[in-house]
Amino acid sequence: MLLQNFLEESAYKFPKKEALICGEERWTYEEINHKSNQLATFLRDQGICRGDRVAIFMDNSVESVISLFGILKADAVFLMLSPTLKPLKLAYILNNCQAKALVTHASKLNVLLDAFEATPTIQFTIFSGDKTKIPGHYLSKSTLWDEIFSSSCFSPLVPCCNIDLDLATIIYTSGSTGNPKGVMLTHLNMISAATSITTYLENVPEDIIINVLPLSFDYGLYQVLMAFKFGGTVVLEKSFTYPYEVIKKMVKEKVTGFPGVPTIFAILLQMDDLSRFDFSSLRYITNTAAPLPVPYIKRLREIFPHARLYSMYGLTECKRVSYLPPEEIDRRPQSVGRGMPNEEVWIVDESGKRVGPGVVGELVVRGSNVMRGYWADPEATDRVLKPGILPGEKVLYTGDLFKMDEEGFLYFVGRKDDMIKTKGERVSPKEVEEAIHALEGVAEAAVIPVPDEILGQAIKAYVVPKNGYSLKEKELILHCKKMLEDFAVPKYFEIRDSLPKNASGKIDKLLLKKEIERNGQ
């Protein structure tokens, strides 16, 4: 079984059924399957071989969905890159995985133009969107999206050689060194995760899922993969920027599933008088990234009385770890539940020994959903994938500290390293500090996590200006927005004359963290 079989089987079973609703466009399974076959044939004709990496860099769109399946059908590995990626990181990722081709949109040209020169492995680019915006010298090296599908004669799609142990995707996630690491996921990894999740969500072909999360975030990507698995419909939105539009869509399309994160629910709950809308179709809401504050749970129930609330936890390296059955949420609102079906989890102490209830330790995950490792980084891989129960087997040491209650329910405590978990994304303090240092007039910068009800952890940056410089918070925010993806921009800045140092002369972050514990942010 391969990941693209999700689409192919649904196209066989429900050819005329709506698979994807994107803006005004409505696409059936048959249409998406056909287009992705055409794209796969084109990619093969262009020299894309089994195992080659092909990147997708665009906002959520029907093109991104067709592309991911087209790339899989060409036996290649897809990369769904964050549409808010900045040129330096984009170039790093494309070079790190030696991507051979890129599918993108004309609106991303401003970022691409700065990255193109630095990415020699890219042999060709496919552009969707307004071609008049593409400069002439790029146009000659590019293919336009519509041209791929304009030819009426197509050579039949060559059957796949991949097996389920082959890579389906690489998802880049923040690394502690400051450079992102590529999480390698096989077809088997992703099929396993999708099967476990759709099992506990009890998905049926009648489900209609609204997705406002970027497909570059695995939580968003899986909404499409899972819906295509059970033959449902996805209402794909670019973002939650205009919440009122999304709400109208939910009502109009009779949405049954609404995946979100606390920041989305926070915006939603700020809106006036949601009770006038008919949300009776909504069967479930899922939340991950940080547990929902108790008052939110109560208000979400009032607005969506028919919806079951699932609180969940996961990390890219294995997609999802746990879910809290909806009937438990009132009893243990802070818990992220227990391991999902077909997966085993336990907590270990420093020596690797399993610990009992109430004791804080590192969470370990065993299952077919656990990644193959980090791309081209065997050392980082060995730090997190360690020998498991059976010979040759590897289990995932998550680096997340947890404790369990008497009944086996999990509670997130913090990170083992200094990585920050914010908005469901891991952020390396080093990456943020380096970005701040790139601003003229910065002498020192230190970045630490602070507890946050909505974000899980928020990012706080301490900045010391160089002599003769004065820095303003607004200037720092704008600078960071330019350098970093949205979720990595600090929520708080504090400008100081100096920062405390430890015995080895490094900034004493422990002391800064203690200050926060004492005085709040």
Binding site: S107, T241, Y242, Y244, E245, L478, K482, D486
Partner: protein, 83 residues
């Protein structure tokens, strides 16, 4: 139109500079990556305070807010209705 200049100035001062520098009156703020959900709320508070108008939830739609021209037209409409 004075609204256009004022809105553009607000965007340049509050959102990512590089993009805002090159911003054309009809460019989509969303597509250009200039604005996100918090950005929209900041923009709306600016409009409400500056022109003393109330923006309803229903009016938080791209048709009203997704380019300099649309925002200026929207402000003009709101002020006309108010008068």
């Amino acid at each position: 139109m004075v609204f256009k200049e004022e809105v553009l100035r607000f965007i340049r001062e509050n959102f990512v500079l590089d993009e805002a520098e090159k911003l054309q009156e009809n460019d989509s703020l969303l597509e250009k990556g200039i604005i996100d959900s918090t950005g929209v709320l900041e923009l709306v508070s600016f409009i409400e305070e500056k022109y003393n108008i109330t923006v309803e939830d229903e009016e938080l739609i791209p048709e009203n807010l997704d380019s300099i021209n649309r925002i200026a037209e929207f402000i003009k409409r709101k002020l006309t209705n108010k008068a």
